[in-house]
Each structure stands twice: as C-alpha cells, then as structure tokens.
C-alpha cells in the first residue's frame, strides 16, 4: 500500500452558530466583529484524515492548507491541534478567492507537496458553492467521490467511498490518488485537547503568497446584491374551535 500524503484544505468562515447579517450597502454579509471558526465540513475532513492514521493506515503526513487573511492561521492552528502535522497558509488579505481560484491553487499545492489524497469539505457554509473539490478533481484529472459518509482504503490502494444519495447510499471505488469531499455523517470531529493545542503551537506553519505559485486567480463573478430572506410571517391565535374553523374557511382551507 502506498504511503498516504494527505492534503486537507480548510476555510475560515463565520461561525455556524452566528446568524449572519447583510451589510447596509447590501453588497456582502457583515464580517467585522463576528465570530469566525473553521468550516464544519472541514472539521470532518481533518477528523477523517486523523482517523486514517489512528487506524494504522500508512499516513506519511497530513498537511492543512488555507488561503486568506492572517486570521486564517488561527484556523490552521486548530487544524493542527486536531491532528494535522503541519500547515501551509497562502496569505491573501484583499481578494476573496472563488472556487476555481482555490482549485487552481490547490492543484499547485498537490503537485508541489506530492499529495495523493485530498479530503475537502463538500462545501463551505458561507458560499455553499460545493465546487472546489469537483474542480480540483477536473484540474488534476483524478477520480473523485463527493459527499462521503464512509471511507475505506485497502492494501492495494483501492479507496471505497460510501456516499449518501437521495433514498439510499451509493458505493464508489477508485484507486489512489483521489479527491474525497466530506458530508455530515462521515464522523464526529473531536475537540482540540489542551496538550494538543500546546503541541500545535510548535508545529510548522509555512506562509506563502499567490505570487509564489505564479497564479492568475482573478475573480470571474460579480456579486450584484445580497439580501436577507423575507422575514417569516408570525402565526395567529384563535380563541376556540369555532374561531379556528372560521379562520380556516377564510383561508379557503375548508
């Protein structure tokens, strides 16, 4: 079985438990002074990579990757506290990268770092694009299994992935190298333990810029307008059964 050299890209997004607000200019979601955390699907990717190692698969190393402002390093430290060995941060303060830009960047990283397995979250909870993994597979011309709920790797490099589809599960098999994107039922991510948080501080975190990869990642999409969904209409109350029947008749339900 070949040694596994895993790449886990992670994204820093607005915390799952925070209700996002649209900014006054209706151009984007308000991000200042809002709690950010790791994209929950990416936590699943890390957990799965770490579990492969714990299951005594020949994992050579697990590299966490993120692109974006300096704050992404907190996210990478969390990734290392959860069990990644080292981290790579492509610092980009101004521009928000689109899935294609990220996929191109990841392609370079995969080649540079000689990765043979990339585990990505199926989507980030801020853009919900669900594209990066697929685009990366296309660029690399590797097999892909999206929305994985179970991953198994055997002695002859066969990767069997169970994925949830409408009304059941689908099982795919392919040989390494491979792209996997994770879905919620894949595993339950661990907490970052104190000793591991301490250790993570000493793990290597390499910083690079887009220039280092000589990439053109110009954005191709333009956000026209961002709007909040219409507020939910509150329910009404009726005094008694007669009131309810009258109301239902009024609404044409009876």
């Amino acid at each position: 079985m070949s040694k596994l050299r895993i790449l886990v890209p992670v994204k820093r997004v607005i915390d799952y438990a925070v209700k996002p607000r649209v900014n006054k200019a209706q151009t984007a979601v308000e991000k200042n002074n809002v709690k950010h955390s790791m994209n929950p699907f990416d936590e699943l990717s890390i957990e799965e990579a770490v579990r492969l190692r714990e299951a005594k698969k020949p994992v050579e190393d697990i590299l966490a990757f993120s692109a974006g402002p300096a704050k992404c390093q907190d996210t990478l430290r969390t990734a290392m506290a959860m069990g990644c060995d080292r981290a790579l941060h492509v610092v980009e303060e101004k521009q928000e990268l689109e899935p294609l830009g990220v996929a191109k960047l990841l392609q370079k990283v995969v080649e540079d770092e000689k990765r043979n397995l990339v585990i990505l979250g199926k989507q980030s909870i801020d853009d919900d694009a669900n594209q990066t993994g697929q685009m990366l597979a296309g660029l690399l011309n590797w097999p892909q299994a999206t929305q994985a709920s179970k991953v198994e790797i055997d002695e002859s490099d066969n990767v069997t992935v169970t994925r949830e589809v409408d009304g059941g599960v689908e099982t795919l098999r392919a040989k390494l190298p491979m792209i996997i994107t994770t879905d919620l039922r894949l595993n339950e991510p661990r907490y970052a333990s104190l000793p591991n948080i301490m250790k993570a501080k000493k793990k290597p975190l390499e910083k690079k810029s887009l220039k280092d990869y000589g990439l053109d990642v110009e954005n191709r999409l333009k956000t026209v307008k961002v709007q909040e969904p219409p507020p939910r209409q509150g329910g009404g109350k009726v005094e008694d059964v007669d009131g309810m029947i009258a109301k239902l008749k009024e609404l044409g339900a009876l």
């Binding site: 438990a17 209700k19 907490y191």
Partner: protein, 569 residues
Amino acid sequence: MPPLNRCLPALRRIRLANATFERSIARQTPRLPALPAYALLPQRRWQHAATASASQETSNEDEAGQPTPSKQIKYTSDSYPDLKRDSRFKQLDEADVKHFKEILGSSGSLIDGVTQDAQDDLEGYNADWMRKYRGQARLVLKPTTKEQVSGIMKYCNEKMIAVNPQGGNTGLVGGSVPVFDEVVINLGKMNKIRSFDEVSGVLVADAGVILEEADSYLAERGYIFPLDLGAKGTCQLGGNVATNAGGLRFLRYGSLHGNVLGVEAVLPDGRIFNDLFTLPKNNTGFDLKQLFIGAEGTIGIITGISVHCPQRSPAVNVAYFGLDSYEKTQQAFREAKKKLGEILSAFEMMDGAAQKLYAKANGAKLPLEGEYPFYCLVETSGSNGEHDEAKLNDFLEHVMGEEIVADGVVAQDETQVQSLWACREGISESSQHFGGVYKYDLSIPLPELYDLVPATRQRMEDEGLLDAEDDAKPVMDVVGYGHMGDQNLHLNVVMRRYDKKVEAALEPWVYEWVRERQGSISAEHGLGLAKRNYVGYSRDEEMIKLMRQIKQLYDPNGIMNPYKYVSGG
C-alpha cells in the same frame, strides 16, 4: 453584532435531540424503550419553550399538554400527611369564579375547574416539573395587568381565599405549585418588556417575561441579563426575583439583591407596592424591595422589576478539564482567579459520576477521551478576544505544566461552546431521567464542599439502598456538581423511583452535616415546601421569629403561598 454567547441553545438542543433519537433507534437498550417516548428527548422542557417562543403562556399550556405519564404524581397532601388544609380558607364557589371573570374581563384568562371539569388543563399548573409535588387547585387565573392582580388579591384577602403565585413553574422545592386548593395566579400573560435604557443598561419588564427572551432582547442591544440558569427557556423574571435565583453568572455579576434596582408588587390586601426605581443608588430609608427578593411569593406578588444589566462580553471562551482529585480542582480554581482575573465568568465543577450520568441519559459523548473523577468548566468573557485568549493560554499552559489538570479541551467554535456547557447544564435534567431525584442545593465552605458526596454515597450503601445495576434498589447513583466559584454544591441522589426510606436516610442527615460546617441548607433553590421544616439548620430562632413577624405584617391573613417558606415547624 454581538456574538450570541449562549443565547442560541436551540441548536444545541436539536443536536442533542438528534443524537439521542438516532442512538435510541440504533441500539435498543433494555431500559430505554420501557420509558415513554417523550422521556428520550433530553431537555424536553426547554424544548417546549424554545419551539413555542411566540408567547410564554403557550409554554405553560404545553406543559399541560404533555403526554400524561403512565404513573400519576402523588398529591402533595398524600405524600405529606402531616399537612392539613387550613380550615380558615374559603372553598371556592361559583360566585367567586364569576367575580374573578369580571376582574379579568376579556383580556385575562382563567381555567375554571370549579364549575366544570378541567382536570387536564389544570394539571400543568398543579404539578411541578420534578414530578414530586401535585396540588389540587381548581382555578388558575392569568391576569394581564397589575390592576387585575390587585383586584384579585383584594377579593381573596376579604374572602380568605388562599393563593399561589406562579411563574414558569420551574422551582425545585415545591414552592411554585399549590399544596391544596389554593388559587394559582400565573403571571405568564404579563410578558411585556416595558423599557430599556441603552445607556445605563436598566431593563424594566413585567414579571412574566421569560428569562431567555429577556436575554435575547438584551443580546440584540449588546447587553446581558445578569442571571442565567438551566431552565432559562421556561422560567420567568418575576419567579427568578421572588426566589432570588443564583445560577451560572453569579460568580461574575453577583446576586439579584444587588442587580435588581426596583420591584413592583401587589400586596395581599390589593395595595400596590410601587418601587420600580431605575437608578442604582437610593439611600432613603429601609430598602423594602429586598424583602420581596427571595420571599417566594409569601408577602406579595411581584408584577414588574427593574434590573441593572451589564454590557455583554463579545469574547467568550470555554475550556473543559479533567482532574485527578478534588484538591486539584480547588487548585485550578485558585489559579483561574489568579491568571484570569476579571475575565473569569464561570467556574463549574462536575464529578465523574455526574458526567457519566449525563452521557448515559442523553446518549452523548463526553468531550474527553479518558475518565476522570472530577471535571471543571471554565468560562471567560471579556471585551477583547485577543487579550482574553492570551490570558487563557497563559492559564492553560500553567495548569497543564504544573499538572493541576490532567486533560482538557478548549471550544474552537460556538457549537463547541454550547456542547461543553451542555455537559454542565444537562446534568440536572439527566439526574431525573431514570425515575426521580432528590436534590440538595447547599452552601458549604470550599475545602469540605465535596466531602458530602462520598459521605452520602456511603450512607446510601450502608442502608442498602444504592446499586448502580440492581433495579431492586431505589437509588441508582449519588452525584455532585455545582458552582464552585460560589461555594455552592448540588447534591443529587438519582432515583429509580421515589422511596420514603431514602428520604428518611437523607433528611435531616444532610442538613445536620451542613450545619456542622456552618453552611446553608439552601444556597439558591429556596425553601418552598421541601425545606420549610429545616430553616432552623441555617438560621437561629431569633432570625426565624423576625422573619415570621415580617410575614405577619405583610400578610396578616396568611393567604399568600401558605404551608411553605418559614411557616414550618
């Protein structure tokens, strides 16, 4: 916008409920299926409030609408045969109901079990949520204004009708439900926030506002309610003040005696006690409102309050530790105070048994891999995330380096913050999941705080009442947890079913144990019915005499929440 701290517990509940639901289906353990389906849902009580947040009286009606458990709760009058209905109190008749209807008019509402059968509708107001107390009230009044409350009280005082004021009915000592046929006056319909000053942070609200709703309202404005407790989704501000609730933010923000600036209440004779002051300082004579804080509805009904609310801290961090001994827990607390200083906002202690119980009742996984005899939850909140993090890191490095804590985790996101808090807040619900619980809420000096738990376990074993596996024994486990920062221990004796033998072995033994250590037999839960006979363990005769004089002065006819509080023998 301010981070939502813990004001989105709904998510956590959904997660927990999902996990429990899935697990209960996945592995059918022999015990779980025997329980009615609703028992599998953790924190079902809060869930009702969360889903029915549109108005608070729905949450009350939800209680009434809950599936009737297979086993009826015993009437309080049957489980306390020494209690006799005071014959001075009038039995309700049709004329009384008619009069109350007139007072309430169309705005208020009433559940009438006097002239018709309303047993099912009344049940939620008669039974407490621990399923330990059950009154026989036949009339529930839900006024909407203080004038209505005043009219009701005036009439009751003249006619000698006993009343039982009620908020969210989440009390733990049987103070919120009637004993016999007292009229329940439920404040649930007085649920408006009257005003909020964004500069001073003073909130004026009706007594029936649900704590969680008040806190969410404040969160939107960057403030926080100085009180937080497990039942926040159901309990009401008036009840919180009337019982002087303590809770999880006590360490940081102190007692309601300090935070409540004003009280509006209706006295037993219908007079309105109007002290809804909104400024922090007022040294003009006796501070009478303090008497209502913690009076448990025995000298008047609180209808409105003004509270001083602190600024909400935008940066909240939560860490959860496993420790090898109680000594280490104390050390960790000392270090937390030293290293975290002003940002320390909670220090909670749970013993290993309490955490196992939580995991078992909820089908949840504990945050740490290994098992430890003690666990702590530390919360910091401050105004500057980076500054707090630096302090917290310094603290964590120190306690790990010195081997004060054996293992620990730090929440990396809001969801984890909530799951870690669930490990602490969920214990109370879990402890009655298996049939019932005897709860003791005690103030004990820190060095001896935990000694009571092993002592109680020993006593239960010696009496042959405890066995973790054997269903023939009434006691399943003895767990201890609490607000370490406030020297407040919650001792829970987890029952398979209520048993008088257990009660006899515990009381007054626990109280004697606490008295020997100059503690308090009720730190934050109050006296209610459960502890009315044990006040003497924490207060001397002279003090009790003075308390009774105050009761006599305000409520000469004794119609307010009778049989409870300081009325005991």
